[in-house]
Subunit: 442 residues, 2 copies
C-alpha cells in the first residue's frame, strides 16, 4: 500500500548526523523553518498547495521503530545515548500552513514548522519531497484544466509516473486541481476519486475484427462503453462505432463515447464528429488521449478540435516541462532570534511569517503581502492556518472534495491573465513594512 506512513528514517542521513551533533552539544532550543518556492519556473506563474495531509499524518505517527534504531546503531555513527533519545522522540511542534488547494506564489511560505531544533530539522527531506512533488503536480494539473476551458480532463498517467507513490499522488493532486477523474483504480478506492477507462488497442486486436471487438465490449458494458477507434483506421473506426451505437440503441442501451489516441486530433475529431452526427449520434462524446498536456490541449482547441474530454498522461504525470520545483526549507528563527541566509540569488526572509491576501469588491485577488505572523493587515485575509500544535492536529482533516472546492474557489478569484499558459504575468507580492524592517535589522 502506498498510503502507509514512511516514518522518520525516510530522510537524508545528514538530518540525523546534525541531530546527533545538536544532541551532543545540547542544542534543544526552538527553531522555526519556512518552506517556500524560491523562483518562478519558466512557465509557472502560480502554484497550488498540495501534500499537507501526508505531512500531518507522518507527524502524528512520528516515531522511530525498534528496527530503525537497530539499523542506525549498525551504521556505527551514533551513540547509545542519542539512539535512546531518538527512540523516545515524538513530534512536539507546531505547524502553520496553507490549506491544500490554496493558490500561492514564490517566496510565500507554504508552511512553517516551529519545534525544538532537532525535530524541525529532521522533517526537512520529507516535507520537501512531499509538498514539493504534490504541489508541482497540482499546479501542472490546474494549467491543463484551464487550457481545456471547461472540458473534462482525466488523469491517465499511472503507467508513466515516477514510481507508485507518484501514481497515487498524481491522481489526488490532479483531482484537487479539477480533473474529472483518474484511470488509477487504487486511487479510486483510497481517495474516492471517480475512475475512468474502457479499452486498449490490445482489446481490439484480441478479436477477429474491430466491429466484433466493439460489439463484444458494448454487450459487457451497455451503459458505459467508450470505443477506441484508431487501432486500424480512425474514420472507419468511427463508422464501426456508429454501427454499434445503432445496435445498442435497439436494445435500449447507449454508446457513451469514442476515443482517439493518435493522428491529428483537431482534424480527426472534426471528421469523427461529422460521422457520428450524420449517423444521428450527436450525444456520443469524443475523448482524446496521447501526448496531451496544457500546450497540446490549447493547440488542438485553437485549431477547432471537437473534443469533449482529454485524457492526460505521461507529460502531466511527470510534469515533463518542469519535472522538479525549486522548493526549500530554511531556518528563519532560532533561540528567539530571527535569522536570515544571504547568498547571491538565494535570499531567505527572516522571521515567522504570514501571507495576507487583498481582494477587490468582486472578491478577485488584488495583491499579496508577506508580513510577520503577528501582524494585522487591514482588509486582507491571512492565508496560513495553524494546523498542528504540540504535535497534534488543531483542525479536522478536510475531505478531498473540500480541498477541491477550495482550489476551485481560489482559482475563480485569480485574474485570467495570471493563468495564461505561455505568457508570464507576475501577480503582485510585496513585503509588509514590518517584515522589511526586520530583514534590514537581521
Amino acid at each position: 500500500m502506498t498510503t502507509h506512513t514512511v516514518g522518520p528514517i525516510f530522510t537524508d542521513l545528514y538530518e540525523l548526523t546534525m541531530a546527533a551533533s545538536y544532541f551532543s552539544h545540547q542544542r534543544f532550543d526552538k527553531a522555526t523553518f519556512s518552506l517556500f518556492i524560491r523562483n518562478h519556473a519558466a512557465n509557472r506563474t502560480y502554484y497550488v498547495a498540495a501534500g499537507l495531509e501526508d505531512i500531518l499524518n507522518e507527524l502524528e505517527a512520528f516515531q522511530f521503530s525498534e528496527t530503525d534504531i537497530a539499523y542506525l546503531k549498525s551504521t556505527g555513527l551514533f551513540s547509545d545515548d542519542f539512539l535512546d533519545y531518538l527512540s523516545k522522540l515524538r513530534f512536539s511542534g507546531a505547524v502553520h500552513a496553507l490549506p491544500e488547494g490554496t493558490i500561492f506564489f514564490p517566496e510565500e511560505p507554504v508552511a512553517e514548522v516551529t519545534a525544538p531544533l532537532i525535530e524541525a530539522q529532521l522533517l526537512e527531506t520529507l516535507i520537501l519531497n512531499t509538498i514539493g512533488f504534490q504541489t508541482m503536480i497540482a499546479t501542472k494539473a490546474a494549467r491543463c484544466v484551464h487550457a481545456a476551458g471547461g472540458r473534462a480532463v482525466i488523469d491517465f498517467s499511472l503507467r508513466r509516473t515516477q514510481g507508485r507513490d507518484a501514481g497515487m499522488k498524481v491522481a489526488r493532486s490532479g483531482y484537487i486541481a479539477g480533473f474529472a477523474g483518474t484511470s488509477n483504480v487504487l486511487a479510486g478506492k483510497i481517495y474516492g476519486i471517480p475512475v475512468s477507462g474502457t479499452m486498449a488497442h490490445s482489446y481490439v486486436t484480441a478479436f477477429d475484427s474491430e466491429l466484433e471487438a466493439f460489439s463484444a465490449y458494448s454487450k459487457t458494458f451497455p451503459q458505459s462503453t467508450v470505443l477506441l477507434i484508431d487501432t486500424y483506421d480512425t474514420l472507419q473506426g468511427a463508422r464501426n462505432a456508429a454501427a454499434v451505437a445503432r445496435e445498442m440503441k435497439k436494445k435500449g442501451a447507449s454508446l457513451v463515447g469514442v476515443r482517439l489516441d493518435s493522428g491529428d486530433m483537431a482534424e480527426l475529431s472534426r471528421q469523427v464528429r461529422k460521422i457520428l452526427d450524420d449517423a444521428g449520434f450527436a450525444e456520443v462524446k469524443i475523448f482524446a488521449s496521447s501526448g496531451f498536456d496544457e500546450y497540446k490541449v490549447a493547440d488542438v482547441l485553437s485549431r477547432g478540435a471537437k473534443i469533449d474530454a482529454f485524457g492526460v498522461g505521461t507529460k502531466v504525470g511527470v510534469s515533463a516541462d518542469e519535472p522538479y520545483v525549486d522548493i526549500v526549507y530554511k531556518m528563519v528563527r532560532f533561540k528567539d532570534r530571527d535569522v536570515r541566509k544571504l547568498s547571491p540569488g538565494k535570499i531567505t526572509l527572516a522571521g515567522e511569517k504570514q501571507v495576507f491576501r487583498k481582494f477587490d469588491s468582486k472578491g478577485q485577488y488584488v495583491e499579496d503581502i508577506i508580513g510577520l505572523r503577528d501582524e494585522i493587515i487591514e482588509d486582507a485575509k491571512p492565508l496560513l492556518v495553524k494546523v498542528m500544535e504540540n504535535g497534534t492536529r488543531t483542525l479536522p482533516s478536510p475531505s478531498l472534495e473540500e480541498i477541491r472546492g477550495r482550489f476551485e474557489d481560489n482559482f475563480s478569484r485569480l485574474n485570467p491573465k495570471y493563468k495564461d499558459i505561455l505568457q508570464q504575468h507576475h501577480y503582485p507580492v510585496r513585503l509588509s513594512a514590518r517584515l522589511k524592517a526586520l530583514q534590514e535589522r537581521t
Copy 2:
C-alpha cells in the same frame, strides 16, 4: 513503508474493464505480451534493466483483497460472476526477463509475460510503471558514473524525487549502476546501501561562527566528518576546515573531507585543494554537490576540477533531461498465433523472442540479434532468462550486490563509444532471419 506490494488494483481501470469483457466472452486463451523501449531518447544509447524484483514480488503476492472486491463492486461496473472470478485469481503465468543490471537497447524485449489473456493484460500498468521508471533511473545513473571517471557518485536526490517510492527506487537503481551510496537512510535500512551525509547550511548557521560549528561537528564525529564550507565564504571555509583538521589531528582523529555546494566548482575546487594541501592535508577529500548530473560532472572535470566525489541530486533523481521513457507492453502472441501491430512509427515485433548477444575474443560486445525464443544462434549468449513459471519464481532472488556486479560486468564489455554522454553512436542490433520471416508472414 514503501516496499509493500501495491496489489492488483494499482492499475488503469481499462485493464479491468477489458478483463470483464474477456471474462463475459470466455476469452481465457493464453497470450504473450512483450515489454520493450520503442525508440532511443535524445541522449540515451543504452539502457540498464531494473525493477524486475518488484514485479516478481507483486506477481507472487497477486491477489485481490476483500476490500478491493468491495470497492470494484461499488463502481457498479462489474458483474458478481466476474468479481467472484477476480477474488480467486492468482497469477499462473510465466515470465522471461533480462536480469536486473543487464544492458540492453531499444526494440529488445526487457521482459515477456505469457499467461491467460486476462492475467497478462492486468499487469500492463504495473510493469510499465515499475520497470520503466527504475530502468530510466539506472540508465541515468550509469551515465553519471561514466562521466565521473572512477570518482565516487552518491545519490542525494531524496528531497526532490517524485514521491516516496521514487526516492527509494532512485537509491536502489543508482546503486545498481555503480553509485557509491545514498543519503536516503531508509534505503540504507531496506536495501543495505551505504549511507552518506554530514551537514547542511542550517547546521553552520545554528552556531555563532563557522569555526565553532565545524569544531562542534568534529567532536561528535571524530572519524567521519565532512565539513560544508560554502555557507559564508568558501575559501575562508577551507581555511577553517584546515584549522579544525589540525585540532582533530592533535586528538588522533582525522578530517575525512570538505564539501562545496555552490559557485564555480572547477575553480573553487582547485583553490580549496591548494589550501588543504598547503596546510598538510593532502588526504582530505573534496566532495561537491549542487545541480550535478552527467553533463555538469563532465563539464567541471574537463575544466580541471579537483573533486573526489560527486553528490547528485534533483536532476538525476527525476532524470530531468528525459523524465520518462517510451516503454510499451504489447501483445505479440495470442491463441498460438503470432500477432503484430502496425501503425506508422509504432512497430511491434510479433512472436516470443530472445535477445542473443555476440562477443569478441576479449569478451567485448559486438552485436545483438533479436531472434525467436526457440532459436539457437551460435556463439551468442541468450540474455532473457525464465524467472517465473506457473506463477512461481524459478530462480532465487539475487542480492543487490549481485545485480550491481552484473551491471559492472556488462558495462565493462560495452565499447566506450556507446557510453559517450553527448554523441549518439548506435550499438548494432539486428533481427534474425527467422524472426524477420515471421514478421513478413504475420
